[in-house]
Symmetry: C2
Subunit: 453 residues, 2 copies
């Protein structure tokens, strides 16, 4: 029976090099999150289907992979982490120290048609800052998001953060040209404006039955959004009609951001409204500055969500960043490190006919010592590999050891074996010396050689 | 609308402490695997349902969570990693450097009734060594498995590895008391023998229609397996009837294992036959020595599997270890480290009415510097946190800083602010000094204090 299978559509096989890139991305997310005082959490890969309907309505169902367990419960693979987070916080709210600063790095799933940058299975970094009534939660989220992109080697010119505030925007729209009952339509239009040309806008206006006054105003918004050099003028013209309170709020926020050194990355952006209805107030998106409107991350406030899941009322802000677009951007900018697979410390080469001495030495090199008092590893074992080539010619094996990146080689050969010794070769300085063949003593000598520089 | 939801049956929420335990387990698996020269891989969380049928037959379907995508393809959440591995190796076999030493740490799923040590969603470390025709692949797998358990703080008395060889066992059984057509029944019986008393065995013999001669022999096997002090005698009595070739094979294997210092952990074990039909030759299980027959890990040779998935014929050996039983054992032995959440480097305390200076200093402390030439982080940012308490009384805030485990505190107070300085307090030596308030300069002084010991 012969079979050939492929990975399911929209999923990925992670061969060693691809896996090293994935771990680099995940570990960078994790390291920078921890540095900013966030704690890692996770939940199940699937939740009850109902959980997703509570947050996103019934229409979410068609975008999910759903199934039933043997108890006929409807379950779905998580399309995002927020409903799980809201469930966990709602259940534990009384016992949790506040504020709650959590991050997670879940794999998520959507049943859509795959396309560039959007797969059916992806990894999404989630950051959430809950139960803090001060503006620092917004600042710390922006700080973490920006510092993480900097940690990947991206700079101010590589990305920009467009931010907005739905409360202020609603106030500005209703006090200028949008009737209160048309606010939902206005958001629908603003969410799409940046991606449309004049003809596309006409179609959208017709679809949403825009009165002529709205149309001319939205055309002005489109100019402010899309035409970079003209943008400040068009934006100023728009904002000059807004209530003083809203303009002051925007200025105060900008100054707070500038204060902590993040001003060059962030810009008030009319087009960032975030489609999802659960956002309240502040929202933002990270946009790839070199590929117009490609969103790398996004988030905002969701002050009412924890209540919806049966928890107490609490302020909340969060954002998510997926691995797929991020990896594309890092590759395009050439900042993905070339060598991500870790090099061995030591490479064992043998001219002996018997494999066992090699295995004994590998064992001694790789072994850690455990300290029972502290319940910790006292001395970590070394990353040690051997050649698996059939040849016993050291001259032919040596290039493999050098190419591996190992700093030290252990060489076993019959003449030294007869004298009870092995050779230790420093592959950087190219110096050689002899050491006792006995595995533990040899391992100690290898450690000394590694520490010598 | 109020809702309360729970995690689906048999799944886990990972709150920060639980997540730290999970990451400790995963990172230990990863670190020791890398040290032994294995490369990490992964595949999709779901595969085509057919893939699992190829390896395990149609009966596997009832144990899987399966669903259909919008193209009506039948998919299933992975119950294990081996079919994905076999698919990946089969597809890439020609281009892969050999031998193939891979590990993975996937989340896996089974639709069974949850019970202690068996959940519906779990994490399983998988190690595979393929395309190596020598005995070292068996040795290196045992080495990695044992070294990993030692890295967790387990010792020789905490676990034992029972090993067997299905080829040798079949030869021994058929040359002594099992008719060739009854080999399958014999394996079925041996797989269960260790868990049954005399009455249970009678029932099993009846069910499998054992002739009387088989019954008395299996009773002898049961004595050899279960009764520890009598075991060597009973085992020797059984083995004395086996072909010389099989006995020599067992002895040679034992001596090779002893040779590399693993003899004390491993024992030939009649009861370890591994239920799964795809195993060929060498098989082993890691058993919790203090809770009889609780399996912590298991594996063996599967020399024909890659062919089954359309690849070339290649020798292969692998094993898996789940996180659920491992964590139970580590807790029972008291070797799980008490403090797994990482302590901050520096804690910022402020008596100032304004939050912004704290944010500026946090920013400067947490920021990395990037080196464009090497495309790497040149200096990593610090793990820096601040108190979120409302009080501005440094005396009341200091205990939180000390409890956090931070080695250094930065203290901001109005009198120092007026002089353009802040206090740096070493929380270990309890010494204090002043440093310039400007964020970058202050961060440099904090680094110096941290490096001073």
């Amino acid at each position: 029976m012969k079979n050939t299978f492929q990975a399911p559509k929209g999923t990925r096989d992670f061969m060693p090099e691809a896996m090293a890139v994935r771990r680099y991305i995940e570990e960078t997310w994790r390291r920078v999150s921890v540095r900013h005082g966030f704690l890692e959490v996770d939940g199940p890969t699937f939740e009850s289907l109902e959980l997703y309907k509570v947050k996103s309505g019934d229409e979410i169902v068609s975008q999910l992979f759903s199934f039933r367990d043997r108890g006929d419960r409807e379950l779905a693979l998580r399309p995002e982490f927020t409903p799980t987070l809201a469930r966990m916080v709602a259940a534990q709210a009384q016992g949790l120290p506040r504020p709650i600063k959590w991050f997670s790095i879940p794999r998520c799933y959507r049943a859509e048609q795959p396309q560039k940058g959007r797969l059916r299975e992806f990894i999404q970094w989630n950051v959430d800052f809950l139960a803090d009534p001060t503006p620092r939660c917004e600042q710390e989220c922006l700080m973490l998001c920006i510092e993480t992109l900097r940690e990947f080697g991206l700079q101010a010119g590589d990305f920009r953060i467009g931010w907005n505030n739905r409360d202020w925007l609603t106030q500005a729209l209703t006090s200028t040209f949008v009737a209160p009952e048309r606010v939902g339509d206005a958001y629908f239009i603003l969410d799409r404006l940046a991606k449309l040309d004049a003809a596309g806008r006409r179609e959208l206006y017709a679809q949403r039955q825009c009165p002529p006054r709205e149309q001319s105003q939205f055309d002005l918004f489109a100019a402010a959004i899309s035409s970079e050099p003209a943008a400040p003028d068009a934006l100023m013209q728009i904002m000059s009609t807004w209530p003083q309170e809203v303009r002051d709020g925007i200025k105060a926020f900008e100054s707070r951001i500038a204060d902590i050194g993040l001003g060059e990355y962030c810009r008030f952006d009319l087009s960032v409204v975030r489609g999802l209805a659960y956002y309240t107030g502040f929202v933002f998106e990270v946009l790839d500055a070199k590929s117009h409107n490609r969103a790398m991350a996004g988030g905002g406030r969701y002050d009412r969500l924890i209540e919806t899941f049966g928890g107490p009322s609490m302020p909340a802000i969060g954002f998510g960043m997926g691995d797929v677009v991020l990896e594309i951007v890092l590759r395009e900018r050439g900042v993905l490190p070339r060598q991500l697979l870790s090099a061995p410390d030591v490479f064992v080469l043998s001219a002996l006919p018997d494999e066992q001495p090699v295995q004994q030495i590998l064992m001694a090199l790789r072994r850690s010592t455990w300290d029972s008092a502290s319940q910790r590893v006292a001395q970590a074992g070394l990353h040690a590999v051997a050649s698996y080539k059939a040849t016993r010619n050291i001259g032919k094996l040596l290039p493999e050891a050098v190419a591996s990146g190992a700093r030290v080689a252990v060489i076993l050969a019959p003449e030294e074996l007869a004298r009870g010794v092995a050779k230790i070769k420093n592959l950087i300085t190219r110096t050689e010396r002899e050491a006792p063949l006995e595995a533990a003593a040899l391992a100690a000598q290898v450690r000394a050689e590694l520490q010598s520089g």
